[in-house]
Symmetry: C2
Subunit: 133 residues, 2 copies
Amino acid sequence: MDKTLLKLKALADRNRFRIFGALTQYEELCACQITELLQVSGATVSRHLGILVTAGLVKSRKESRWVYFALDEGCDEMDNILDWLLPRLRLSDQIQADLEVLDGIMAVSREDLCRQQRGEACCPVQKKEKADG
Amino acid sequence: MDKTLLKLKALADRNRFRIFGALTQYEELCACQITELLQVSGATVSRHLGILVTAGLVKSRKESRWVYFALDEGCDEMDNILDWLLPRLRLSDQIQADLEVLDGIMAVSREDLCRQQRGEACCPVQKKEKADG
DNA sequence: TATATAATTAGTTGTATAGCTAATTATATA
DNA sequence: TATATAATTAGCTATACAACTAATTATATA
């Protein structure tokens, strides 16, 4: 398919748009961190990430059992689409809310995050919402 | 919905992408000309155009029975997305082919175009493909 | 070497949407 | 004023795809 159309289709989904937005803020994110942000199954996140990678918007890096994702600026003239997207991401309520939530997610170790995700809530981190403090 | 996501969704369809590409080349195009380009039903084109207008990417102007469509640069910072899109549209085989076909379409009066479209092929313009000359 | 685990892939289901034809609307003209 | 016509809207169908759970793969560790 047309590469440009492929990129547009990749970004034209709320959850992939959110992933992209998150990756503009952090150097790289682990699959489990993105899963925590979107609150959908890991399988779904994996598929979304695959679509973004195929479109050339995101790249991945495997480190032992963990896989990290980042914007793929190198591949295409990404900064160019970022010129258009970045100001808009900053105006998006959804993306702004996500960045706040990500703040909290990044404060938790990936191990704890994954433990929580498979229902083994170990620590007093029961609620994922900020405890209003 | 998020305005940016709305625009991405609007452009993330092959036919709407083609309409947008066509409108970057011509000041404005009549609905029937776009119908001729895409070779789908007028109803389908009308719906696609509606989606582009709702997204703020395209504007319309009614003149008697004809409706003309053009890029809606005024509304948003369109030039900005055009910075990203224009070079890519030039690299798209689909869009380039469309522009050649449009050349031929623009040479026919809208009246004849519509006559053809409802099967009243009046003139010797039976085939829409270029007669290889 | 067997078990645990992070991620992906396979297989399924429900929803969204692109396409069609038919009906309707708005405008021009006989 | 009745008819023709460009475009839109309504109603329908088929396909695309986002989500899930279950199964599989790849890596680490007991």
